[in-house]
Symmetry: C2
Subunit: 116 residues, 2 copies
DNA sequence: CTGTATCCCCGTGGATACTG
DNA sequence: CAGTATCCACGGGGATACAG
């Protein structure tokens, strides 16, 4: 049921396209950022948003995007621990690109199934 | 000198995002489509546009995108053979997403180097 | 709940040599 | 010019088990 498509994107370093694709290019990265666009979300919520993602990859993406300044991580002093992730202003700058991708995809869906 | 960044993108099948990312997600795919946005280009021109791409991968992308209806291939009856690739209407529908990616990337570049 | 550590698979791309 | 064929290495991701 899970589509295991593997793709890779690349771009010349220092050019506009790679600036953006370097941030969006990881497995599940666009979905992850998209899930955070509505506001802060917790680890387990993200897993539910994207059921096909493994804990390992989710952690990996989260750490990576945090290191790149795309999202912030805050640990709430509860028991058991609660961790919230939310987009930074840098992360929010990526949303127009993702939105455009979704829009184009929607148009392609209509194209494929004009009557469906 | 060549950046060998490897990334993978994924998306749930049948959703708008994957409709678009399935088409953009391959290594060098956005650059390739972007190179074709100005008009038809030949194999060797594409290699010059994207020096870091290998012939194998370029061929692979070209065949794949042709099969998906993103671009068309025409062999001109010259000697030696001339082959031209150009975006189809489907391929042109992807351009807004790529343009948005480039715009966001440009903004990120300015953000990183506000003074140049 | 929020992760980390380990092992292993295998897809994907590079290099090289060759072809019509 | 425009590819194809072959071999190989790499490294990312899945599964599983474990931890604070």
């Amino acid at each position: 049921m899970v589509l295991r498509m593997r793709t890779k994107v690349n771009a010349l370093p220092g050019c506009p396209m790679s600036m953006c694709m370097d941030l969006l290019g990881g497995l599940w990265t666009p979905e992850l950022i998209w899930s955070l666009s509505d506001g802060p979300r917790r680890f387990s919520e993200l897993r539910r948003d994207i059921p096909a993602i493994s804990a390992k990859v989710l952690t990996s993406r989260l750490r990576d995007l945090e290191a790149r300044g795309v999202l912030g991580r805050s640990v709430l002093p509860t028991s058991p621990p609660t961790v919230e992730y939310e987009l930074t202003s840098l992360g929010r700058e990526l949303l127009p690109a993702i939105r455009s991708i979704v829009e184009v995809g929607s148009r392609l869906l209509l194209r494929d199934r004009p009557a469906g």
